[in-house]
């Protein structure tokens, strides 16, 4: 059983759940405490010790039954039992009409013999399924196995066999019973195959180490990512955010705000007999405030999901974050981020604002911002724009941008395009760039990490 649990943990890891050594040790201790007899208790004890994120619970729930199901296939019964000698002879005679290959399978089903381990091993070799490591393929793989065994032909042949027996004058009742029993055996064998397929996939999951494309991921441009990479990317962004969080904690600027601290003063002056000679002031933590405006128009879509997940992570980090997205107008998205898990919130935002053709209008969005949300920017706020500055030849409203930049403590622009392209075509970047304190090209994770690192320094 311990081995099985270890395999289960390996499979969890392979599916992207982070399980540390300490946690797996906890799992074993928990199982030791409560045993494995009661399945629900066993499940709860594994879940409480191994899974620490809400979003990993579905993975756990999917894998758990696959690993800890009572693994016996349903029993098969000998369908030929209860036949009279004459009828058995009849059956043997009818069977002789089919070719050897079909006859073997049919006899197996009639006698109720499950597939032997050797046969299953042969099947695996034939299908060469060592690449498959996702349980979603279980049914598909089972069907492949059925095909390899010519299941359909066998089924047809069995129907024909019944027909034949009927013609040969077998007792109706016996024939019906035979038919039912053979059907049940077929289903049982299918179930056996399904379970075997599942087992096979689990084996693959445990053995195949998950890919580690982290290095490649860091330096790959955002355009080159496909859907599969996005999941990894999210993980990476989360990791980055966690790293930044600790760094941020160290860097929160401590300033003397001048507020008098009575307790500290009393304590400092105990040595002077209570005469307040040294005055103490309260340490005041200056927390950053952020306003982020993110372009999610068509030209930015390839990286907007990622940028939004980053903004989500930042909002987690810095409570005073106001996040906005825009295409042709501005939307306040922080409330979504506060109440939903990351992927859900991002999907919602992207759904709410579908991309269009040539409708990006930063100028108008800045006007929206100026009218409604300007009070979110004050002298402690860092104002961040994420976008390519491509404005479809609309008025860039540099005047408003200048007002905002002047109000803010710092203005930062993250642009996925290389500086050489700034100002070409409909890009207004050349106009905005001088008004920003910093501009960064951000087209891969490495650049993103560097930019954020610098950004939090302010």
């Amino acid at each position: 059983m311990d081995r099985r649990i270890a395999q289960f943990i390996a499979a969890l890891r392979a599916s992207g759940v982070r399980v540390s050594l300490a946690e797996s040790a906890d799992a074993f201790r928990a199982v030791e405490e409560l045993g494995v007899k009661d399945r629900e208790t066993f499940r709860s004890s594994l879940r409480a010790t191994l899974v620490k994120e809400q979003q990993d619970i579905p993975t756990f729930e999917r894998l758990f039954p696959a690993f800890f199901q009572p693994g016996e296939p349903p029993p098969m019964s000998d369908a030929t039992q209860g036949l009279s000698q004459r009828e058995a002879q009849m059956l043997a005679e009818a069977l002789r009409r089919f070719n050897q290959r079909l006859r073997d399978m049919m006899e197996k089903l009639l006698r109720g013999e499950p597939l032997s381990p050797e046969e299953l091993a042969e099947l695996d070799q034939m299908l060469n399924n060592s690449e498959m490591n996702d349980l979603r393929y279980q049914n598909w793989l089972a069907r492949q196995m059925e095909q390899a065994l010519n299941f359909r032909e066998v089924r047809q042949a069995l129907e024909e066999l019944m027909q034949l027996l009927n013609e040969m004058g077998m007792n109706r009742e016996h024939l019906e019973r035979l038919r039912q029993a053979v059907r049940a055996n077929q289903r049982a064998m299918q179930e056996q195959l399904r379970q075997h397929a599942g087992e096979q996939i689990l084996q693959n999951m445990v053995e195949n180490k998950p890919r580690e494309p982290r290095d490649g991921l860091l330096n790959r441009p955002f355009q080159a990512f496909n859907e599969d990479d996005l999941r990894l990317l999210h993980q990476e962004v989360r990791r980055l955010a966690a790293a930044l969080r600790t760094r941020l904690a160290l860097r929160l600027r401590r300033a003397r705000s001048g507020q008098f601290d009575l307790k500290a003063t009393l304590r400092a002056n105990l040595k002077h007999g209570g005469v307040p000679i040294e005055l103490r002031h309260r340490d005041h933590t200056l927390k950053p405030k952020l306003v982020v405006i993110c372009d999610i128009s068509t030209s930015m879509r390839y990286c907007s999901e990622l940028m939004l997940s980053l903004i989500y992570a930042i909002q987690d980090l810095i409570s005073k974050t106001h996040a906005f997205t825009f295409i042709d107008h501005l939307e306040y998205v922080s409330p979504y981020f506060e109440h939903h898990p990351a992927t859900q919130a991002i999907d919602q935002v992207l759904q709410r604002m579908p991309g269009g053709h040539y409708n990006t209008d930063l100028g108008h969005s800045l006007k929206n911002f100026n009218e409604t949300y300007l009070d979110t920017v004050d002298h402690r706020t860092t104002f961040i724009v994420v976008g390519d500055g491509r404005n479809n030849f609309n008025d860039p409203r540099l005047d408003i941008f200048r007002t905002i930049a002047r109000r803010a403590r710092a203005t930062i622009w993250l642009n996925p395009e290389p500086p050489a392209l700034w100002g070409t075509g409909d890009s207004d970047m050349q106009g905005y760039a001088p008004l920003c304190d910093h501009t960064f090209q951000v087209n891969n994770l490495q650049q993103l990490a560097n930019a954020i690192d610098k950004l939090l320094l302010h």
């Binding site: 946690e23 629900e40 409480a48 619970i57 941020l248 209570g274």
Partner: protein
């Protein structure tokens, strides 16, 4: 003072405290007792995470010590603080006694030595103001420590908490290291407004409490608001469950269901007709937009009803 012998025992004990625990909750709490690990309870607001700790304290007979987290919470508020004013007052009042102490001293050196021998008086437990964490550690009786809404505290505080939660010992520079007499049963709650650090999660058992199923919620309502007729209670709970399926800014939680049930009893309602709903729905839904949406949903003809309750399919965006 009870130590539980198995999860069922714990579940029954919680039941006596009017807390209906699922098997999972009972199992995790039992494991927490056996392994000596804190439990991190996550889930939407108002599903009874805090209540769980209170019920646990009631069931065990231990004292409940609660630390409510908020932004800016620091060690002096969570752990301990010296009572400066008291120290100062004592020095003033004891001045005569102090001068007696070093009156016979012949040299300055000797006087200083004598004073040093006494200085422990001023940095002793007498002047230490115990905050929740230290209280839980020093308590002579075992306790239940509830660290509520840990996600509201800052990341630094979380890091500090790690140290306390892993060894249950605290070092006070003037006194020395204080070791826990009994390991408290620790329950941390989080509404998941920000992600907690991996390190903290690793040290805890994880318990996700979701909205209850219809039957569970009905059982809670029947238990806490026994005056509500069974039929009406079922109708009410069904309605709440339906509201949770809608896309609302803030879905009603169990505590709101209970408030609503109480409101229904107070108003002597005998059916959930439109008039009753109009007047009482605001107990369940706390946002005006949600309220409007729910009313549209509930008072519209049934065929539209079904459609609006369904989630739209989630299309993936394309490049």
């Amino acid at each position: 003072m009870t130590r539980f012998t198995n999860p069922q025992h714990l579940k029954a004990a919680l039941g006596k405290q009017n807390y209906i625990a699922s098997d999972e909750i009972a199992t995790v709490m039992y494991l927490s007792q056996q392994l000596g690990k804190p439990v991190l309870a996550e889930g939407p607001a108002g599903v009874g995470k805090t209540e769980l700790a209170k019920a646990l304290a009631g069931a065990t007979g231990f004292e409940l010590i609660r630390l409510q987290c908020y932004e800016g919470l620091d060690e002096t508020k969570a752990l301990y603080e010296w009572e400066y004013a008291k120290q100062l007052l004592y020095t003033q009042l004891l001045r005569d006694k102090l001068s007696d102490t070093y009156a016979q001293a012949l040299t300055l050196h000797e006087a200083a030595d004598r004073l040093a021998a006494e200085e422990d008086v001023f940095f002793s437990m007498r002047f230490l103001l115990q905050r929740p964490l230290l209280k839980a550690i020093l308590s002579a009786q075992p306790t239940v420590l509830l660290i509520d809404e840990i996600d509201r505290a800052d990341a630094e505080f979380e890091a500090f908490l790690l140290e306390v939660l892993s060894d249950f010992q605290v070092s006070v520079p003037e006194i020395g290291t204080l070791q826990a007499v009994h390991r408290p049963l620790v329950v941390l709650t989080s509404n998941n407004t920000r992600e907690l650090s991996e390190a903290l999660k690793r040290r805890c058992l994880y318990l996700f409490i979701d909205y209850p199923s219809l039957e569970q919620e009905l059982a809670v309502v029947r238990l806490k608001v026994p005056d509500l007729s069974p039929k009406l209670a079922r109708q009410a709970v069904e309605l709440v469950q339906r509201l949770r399926g809608m896309d609302l800014r803030k879905a009603p939680s169990i505590s709101e269901t209970l408030d609503w049930a109480k409101a229904l009893v107070t108003l002597n309602a005998n059916s959930l007709d439109q008039a009753t709903l109009e007047t009482t729905l605001s107990v369940l839904l706390k946002h005006e937009a949600d309220l409007q949406k729910a009313k549209r949903h509930l008072f519209s003809p049934p065929q539209r009803d079904r459609r609006s309750g369904m989630e739209p399919p989630t299309p993936r965006w394309q490049n």
